[in-house]
């Protein structure tokens, strides 16, 4: 099994509107795949479909060889939602200890993930009193508990200073080297360059799927922002003609 995620002809309706249409792609194991696109383009819906919490209208999502949402996947996937999903009235340690118990992860995992996201100094602080960036790292830490084979991270680096962002991307690549597969969404293009592969999304559809180099070459652009714009224009012209 070389692919951690296989999505075929995915269709998701929300509020009577198709927010993901006829979408298909694969994510190879042990890679960092970036899901890039503007806010509201369907990234979160797609990620929710992969972790199996989204009601889908059609298509097939296969994760680690099993249908998305299978009970057997529940301790093999780490998921971090876009808005921080941790208990604001607990301390960082208490919150992680609870999730570790649910995942049946070893107790030592709690201090390991606190170090990995750089929250060592704030371990005993109540989460509600953390800053925005610390809060999103507390939420990210939950996804790292146990030994997930697939990490689905929805905008994990929003609101972080460049030094921390750099550290987290180093962590992501380290995990990928150990064989973990990462699907990371972002709406900023400079993060796209750090991914092994990119899925560019717009209005619920996939614009392009390839390595950053391939995308730059194909669109004859020097940066990915430009590449994205070219792809949007190409698509619009194709629709018109």
């Amino acid at each position: 099994m070389t692919h951690a995620v296989v999505v075929e002809e995915l269709l998701v309706n929300r509020g009577g509107r198709a927010v993901v249409r006829d979408l298909g792609f694969t994510v190879p194991r042990g890679t960092v795949t970036g899901l890039i696109g503007p806010s509201g383009c369907g990234k979160t819906t797609l990620m929710r479909s992969v972790v199996g919490v989204q009601v889908v209208a059609g298509g097939v999502v296969t994760v680690l060889g099993l249908p998305a949402g299978s009970a057997a996947l529940r301790n093999r996937i780490g998921y971090s939602t876009q808005s921080p999903s941790v208990y604001a009235d607990l301390t960082v340690t208490e919150s992680l200890r609870y999730f570790a118990a649910v995942l049946r992860a070893p107790k030592s995992d709690v201090s390991r993930v606190i170090d990995e996201v750089g929250l060592g100094r704030h371990a005993g602080k109540v989460i509600g009193r953390l800053s925005g960036g610390e809060l999103s790292r507390a939420s990210l830490a939950v996804a790292l508990l146990g030994s997930p084979e697939l990490l689905v991270l929805d905008e994990p680096t929003v609101g972080l200073d460049p030094v921390l962002r750099e550290e987290l991307w180093t962590l992501f690549h380290g995990l990928a080297e150990r064989g973990v597969t990462l699907l990371v969404s972002s709406h900023v293009m400079d993060e796209a360059a750090r991914c092994h592969r990119l899925l560019l999304m717009r209005e619920g559809q996939l614009l392009a799927d390839g390595t950053p180099d391939e995308l730059r070459r194909r669109t004859e652009s020097t940066d990915l922002e430009q590449a994205f714009l070219r792809l949007v224009r190409e698509r619009e012209e194709a629709v018109r003609s």
Partner: protein, 244 residues
Amino acid sequence: MNPAIVLATARRILAQLRHDPRTVVLMVILPSLLLVLLRFVFNSERAFSEAAPALLGVFPFAIMFIVTSVTTLRERLTATLERLMTMPIGKLDLLIGYAIAFGLVAVAQVAVAAAFALGWLGLTISGSVWVLLLIALLDALLGMALGLFASAFARTEFQAVQFMPAFVMPQVLLCGLFMPRGQMADVLHWLSNVLPLSYAVDALTQVTRSNVVDGTLVRNLVIVAACALVALLLGAATLRRRTP
């Protein structure tokens, strides 16, 4: 069901409460203070003794309803529920964890209120204090289970708070606290017969007046427990792994 996860959930909820001492103090002390107020409003030990047992059932019911509906709604809104639903936790693990944590708080609440009423306000009961506590605990669990179920229909915390009068007040009005159920118009009497709080108040009244544990008392307790269980299962049905 996984006992380790159930206990971890109960511990987590109690830890959340520990970080919010004001809520804990309000939950534990407020019913007692209201009983003191009621005692002086009636200004008669006899009148107080008639109403107080019912209130010992009504308080934990109403307070657990509101606390649970807000807590659960918060889990839904902050996506911690969505995250848990991607993890190996059963819906009943979560709900029973809730029941244990809030059940413990309810026991503390009723124990303090009963100690006030019996020790200082002149309430006398003929039956066992333990049966009284058991009924109050069942009331608390019923309120908790209904609150959990109701929270599925609220989009905001404002709505969740409004459900308290909607779900709780009709039961309080019809449970026999203000007017004996037998003296109500037929429709209202029938309605009070299908509301679980009525049976809890009947049981509480019986414990006050006699020390006999008979079939009626057991039947009333079983009805309250069964209603709590049904509400808990309905609540479980509203927790969805997949959402639109």
